[in-house]
């Protein structure tokens, strides 16, 4: 068929629209950078399962204005080097708009500069204060309460339980010293005392010398700022050393599997605390259904929220870039909009011109200008017979 001047003109005019049509079909590329192995390996697989499930739900509902979620998974190995390697791959090769699910604070701290330099949003479940103090220009959103929020609540719990002197044995993490300082300040205001801290190298087979020094200070509560592998050693050696005082630790260290690996005599009476998911939320019920678990872990709940927040931000902005998510996330997570608990319902409301306010499985998901959550609930448990029993939730 001969090419006429009229056909050539029509083809020329159509060229910009071909590009536009292709852009409209571009997927929303997301990188799940989770701890599939290493100290956080107990959480990563369920986090990825939840992330994938939300992506599937959104895609099955027609995507975000026709754009489908395209998910790439990388393993942090709970190791900053591997996290940075995974981050480079997700950002430079897969061209993701957002990275979701970094767990250990050291890993998040390591990968964060790559994200903000590339204008990629980073959604994290790490708790160290220092993370949101980085010069991230708004490219970090954190659903885990920072140490200020955590230690205020922990100190309140300790004071309610008549603690007078607290000694901290803390694994070497970016938040170990900050957490102790916050706890010391809050205890002092309540008339109690933080009497010392040892920050230890967690890759040891024994902590007997550290324990001897801590017990020499005669604390009535030991705060164990541990991860699961070192907590197991500490609990066993504290029992062997004859310590019968109170012990308090992070819930992510006192996992059901970690407790089951120790004799009940060693774990009985251990207090643990967790930022609690919003147990009454429909979003929490959705996570329970995805994982088929009665009591899903807080990190799986948080990544559920990350994915829903991303979907709603992209729907609101009409673009699938890190910049678009950065600019619109607070417009869908807080304010006077209609409360919504999942992205599919929220996108329907947005399409009809209504404002939305997402509340998730982990809590209200309202963020400060630094990217921290403004509030959340905490649960305190006590271990009896090798199992956790709820003490308080508020």
């Amino acid at each position: 068929m001969p090419i006429t001047r009229r056909a050539a003109l029509a083809a020329g005019l159509a060229v910009p629209f071909i590009g536009h049509a292709r852009a409209a079909a571009e997927p929303v590329r997301i990188g799940a950078l989770c701890p599939l192995t290493g100290a956080g390996g107990q959480y990563g697989p369920s986090m990825v399962k939840v992330i994938q499930a939300v992506a599937d739900q959104v895609n099955m509902a027609g995507g975000i204005g026709g754009r489908m979620f395209a998910l790439t998974v990388a393993d942090t190995q709970t190791n900053p080097d591997a996290t940075v390697a995974g981050g480079h791959k997700l950002i430079d090769v897969d061209r993701v708009a957002a990275v979701v699910g970094t767990w250990a604070s050291a890993d998040t701290t390591a990968v964060a500069p790559l994200c903000w330099e590339a204008k990629v949003m980073l959604f994290t479940v790490s708790g160290a204060d220092s993370i949101t103090k980085l010069p991230h220009h708004g490219y970090i959103i954190r659903t885990q309460p920072n140490t200020v929020l955590q230690m205020a609540r922990v100190s309140q719990f300790l004071l309610e339980n008549k603690a007078k002197s607290v000694f901290a044995l803390s694994s070497q993490t970016p938040f170990a010293v900050d957490a102790y300082s916050r706890m010391a300040e809050a205890l002092k205001q309540g008339g109690a005392q933080a009497i010392g801290q040892i920050v230890y190298d967690p890759h040891q087979t024994s902590f007997r010398s550290e324990i001897d020094r801590a017990l020499a200070a005669k604390p009535d509560v030991l705060f164990l700022g541990s991860y699961a592998p070192d907590l197991a050693v500490l609990l066993r050696e504290l029992y062997q050393a004859g310590y019968d005082g109170h012990r308090l630790t992070y819930g992510y260290a006192a996992t059901p599997k970690a407790l089951a690996s120790l004799p009940p005599a060693v774990t009985t009476g251990l207090w643990s605390f967790d930022p609690s998911p919003d147990l009454g939320s429909p979003a929490y019920a959705a996570v329970r259904k995805i994982l088929g678990a009665d009591d899903p872990d807080p990190y799986s709940c948080q990544v559920y929220d990350h994915m829903n927040l991303i979907a709603l931000s992209v729907a609101k902005a009409g673009q699938a870039s890190g910049v678009a998510i950065h600019d619109t996330i607070r417009a869908i997570s807080q304010g006077d909009g209609q409360p919504v608990y999942d992205a599919v319902e929220g996108m329907r409301l947005l399409a009809s011109g209504k404002a939305v306010n997402y509340s998730g499985a982990s809590g209200p998901c309202d963020f400060t200008p630094d990217g921290d959550i403004e509030s959340c609930k905490f649960r305190f448990d006590v271990v009896e017979g090798g199992h956790k029993k709820l003490l308080s939730l508020s």
């Binding site: 192995t37 290493g38 100290a39 390996g41 107990q42 697989p45 070497q172 040892i198 920050v199 230890y200 190298d201 890759h203 040891q204 087979t205 024994s206 007997r208 010398s209 550290e210 020094r213 699961a228 592998p229 197991a232 050693v233 066993r236 050696e237 029992y239 062997q240 050393a241 004859g242 599997k257 970690a258 089951a260 690996s261 120790l262 004799p263 005599a265 060693v266």
Partner: protein
Amino acid sequence: MEGAVLAVPAIGFNAVYAVLRFANFAVASFATIGAFAGWAANTALGWPVAPSLLAAFVVAGIVGVVTDEVALRPLRPSGALTTAIASVALAIILENVVRFFFGNDPRGFNLAVYRDWRGFGLHVGPQQARDAGAALVAMAALFGFLAFTRAGKTMRAVADNPTLASLKGIDAPRVARIASFVGLGLSGFGGMLIALDTQVDPLTGFRVLLPIFAAAVVGGLGSIPGAVAGAFLIGIGQEMSLLVLPATYRGAVGFLAILLVLSFRPAGLFGQAAS
């Protein structure tokens, strides 16, 4: 006591080095395999500690021989560095095979935990004493094997002078298999000892790779008495360092020991000078 427990896999590392002349970094994974084998024997079969340790030794030894034959032996003509790098890859593969079958969850032995013995201002853990005793028995058995058995003597002959040993008609591949079985079996034995005090998970061995390597280097690569001395030096040094250093830097003691010892004795405490 930590030194005694570390000494066992360090001896395994040096036994392999002495005969096969390469640093087998997969000892960490064989320690993990031994820990899982001992755990399975204890919890699934109800075996007490001593036979479970034997199971850890045998399973790690067998897996060690098979993987050496399949993955590392074909690479040995390419040089010690190539084989050592391949052993790092092998370690990662084995760790993930364990993870594939058992997952990441921590596991514990079906054993009671006892309070420390106390007296004269000191306290000693019964379990730590038992583990140190088991380590000493393993070391004594190894020394007996090397000194009094024909297989042990051929291992020493190859370690001392491979060329002369081959002229004497010693079957080098057979000795290599014996060295792999004994060395990597001891890594498994040590891995279970470590797991008794910590926990069983896919990283049980990896967590102690650096102290094991430090003990082997400080004692002298290839020297079995050196591995024992190096492990005790590292173990005692790490504990004593707490008197002058914050606990955070305890892990650095091993590297400080390497630096100091190699500055004055490049072959390590008991190592032979490089020819």
